[in-house]
């Protein structure tokens, strides 16, 4: 089970990375208007 010595810290790093990416997505305004995606099917193009 030595692989866990690598995997557990790696998972921590990955989650922190996910948090950073979410921060970027949030600040760039992608999540300001979530309902818009649902309305996309109603548009002509």
């Amino acid at each position: 089970m030595e692989i866990l010595y690598l995997l557990i810290p790696l998972s921590v790093v990955v989650v922190l990375g996910i948090i950073v990416i979410f921060w970027w997505a949030l600040q760039s305004g992608q999540l300001d208007n979530i309902e818009r995606e649902g309305e996309r099917i109603l548009r002509a193009d």
Binding site: I18, L31, R36, E39
Partner: protein, 787 residues
Amino acid sequence: MNQATTAPLQGRHRVGAEAEPEVLALDATFSERPRGPLTVTDNFAVLDDPIEQREFTQFAEIDGRRMAQSVLMVQGMFCAACADTVEDALCHLPGVVKAEVHAATRRLTVQWDPALTRASALAQAVGRAGYRLLPLHEALSITQRIAESRKVLWRLFVAGICMMQVMMYAWPAYITEPGDIPPDIEHLLRWASWVLSLPVLLFASGSFFSGAWRDLKQGRVGMDTPVSIGILVTFVASSLATFDPNGPWGHEVWYDSLTMFVFFLMGGRYLEFKARDRTAGALDNLMNRLPEVCDRRRSDGQFEPVSVRRLEVGDVVRVQAGQAFPGDGVLIQMNATVDEALLTGESHPVIRQVGESVVAGSYNLAGPVEVRVDKLGKDTRFAQIVSLMEKASTEKPRLAVLADRIAGPFLSLVLLGAVVSGVYWWQIDHDRALAVAVAVLIVTCPCALSLATPAAMLASAGSLARRGVLVRRLQAFENLANVHTVVFDKTGTLTHDKLQLVAIHVREGASQADVLALGGALASGSLHPASKALVAASQEGWGGLTLPPVDVVSTTETVGQGLAALVNGSDRLWLGSATFCGVSGEALARGESPRVHLADEKGWLATFELEESLRGDAVEAVMALKAAGVTTWLLSGDLPQAAHRVASLVGVDHVVSGATPEQKLQQIARLQEQGFKVAMVGDGVNDGPVLARSDASFALGTAAPLAQANSDFVIQGGRLKDVVSALGQARSTMRVVHQNLAWAAAYNAVSVPLALLGYMPPWAAGLGMAISSFWVIGNALRLNRVL
């Protein structure tokens, strides 16, 4: 230049000297695309005025160019696909970089280059597509709202993803026997949980800590206090257990309980925020209009169009027919017929003589008049009524106060209990002491008060919103559920505000069709409610009559009296009051309904009987209310005959007529002193203080904008039956709230002793709290279904 007048334009003749609105040429490509419902002929030049533009536009330097970002409201949208049409209309304009419409709140955010295009051009393009752009009231608070929305979402996400990962780390401990996991790996798992609990503590729990800190400074115990203490103690204890496993703080870690706890509470906050945002957006629609333009006299005597914001006391302005007076002022030169429905809720035109004052916001009905402005902005009577209503509305009871009163002592007890049990158990077993104390803190769910009640109210608010009833204050549900008495205003509430043609009496030899055609033709330029009724009747083929075309050569309106015209070449006609038409002997006995007479050179020709029409569902609504055990009242400022007539038609229990606004207020106060809870349904701004004073208030969607903005419920469709459904919904809501509170009490009564006695491990406490939250929210969500 006028904004669109309400009188229908007829090609055959023109009334008055107003310029015709601009006719915009339609682009050929646009005629194929789906269009909006409005015919937009407004003059948007006022949107280019820098003072006006500041209200809804921000400027920024992007790539060395000065760009503008505007937030406007789109009027006329009836579905989400309309957003597409509006965006298309704008995207093809030169100078527009980005245009996005948020369908749920009808907000347009557009980035444009001021060097290439103008705000008025944007509005005109959207106007061609069939929608109207209006500057959004307090548009720049949009940036604030977006910032808040981002913060809430951020906290939820951080708590959520850390919770999931920490649970994965904690899972092995749940399913294995103690000792199965090698200590190294166990240590690693705990270390990893510690690292991922840090973001939750730092980012997601901020609101609890600041709330608890605030309460602490005021010397109170609030709902955030045990939450914050629980989080801190849990974290500190778990950290110590992680880094110093053999120390005095024990061996247990509770990272999973900690993160789950925070996540659930954040989830509740997020839902609350979204619902609030949506309701706020829908209400913005009510308060927005194009900024007013009016003609101000320059020093050389000429008039120039100028934005209302630029007016000063002492200016002389010319107010056209159909415009509202921009400020309180004194009439000079001419009499005016004004519509003060804004204040009184009743559209009966009032005549003001030269030298009398007119009130800001009331409409000028007859020809253009000149007014010297006395008071503007905050000093106008209109603004004073607004501030009066705003003050009155903060006097209402709040559920939060009640919750705090209960929560405070309860939470202090819990904290005390945690400390006591901690000390007690310390003497017995160090490890368990901390576990017990933490369990006590976590298991007492603040959910009942902090989540359950708002969740139930929000679910009900959402359900009502889907039916067209906007809820402005959640506490109104509690008030409405206890209401015994419902008071209705008469005009505009139980009746439509418009007059309707009911009967035509004609002289021998004349036909109803001819007479109606003549009446309608004469009345078509006038804004008097009686005229509008005649025009509507003639256009809709009243009584199944087919009307012959009429050629009207010229019309003059005499303020408050009537219209005189030349018809079909040379016949003179008079339409108006009995004295104006010279009708005396033929005048039928004065009844309650307003009458308009038509006379020609030979004398009396016809009389049109008009009346206020009852709303279609008024009778049903009142019957349903009586069946629900509610007493109904009618409060009206109108004559006793009119009030009693409507009362008997509709079936209310009590009638009060001829009441001034102060008397209406007194009547409500009297009822309240007798111990009754009163709900008021109204529509005029003068009803404003009355609406604020009642325990629950309804404004109809056709009401004066100010009444709408200050009442608890806004019925957008104008259906009185919605009052009944709102009442039903409020009662169910309170039932659910009481169920939730009962559950919370029972749950706490059982689990806290268990925790104190040491029978509850922290993971069970966390689980119990989670189940309790879910149960409470699930129960609240039942209200979403249409009852």
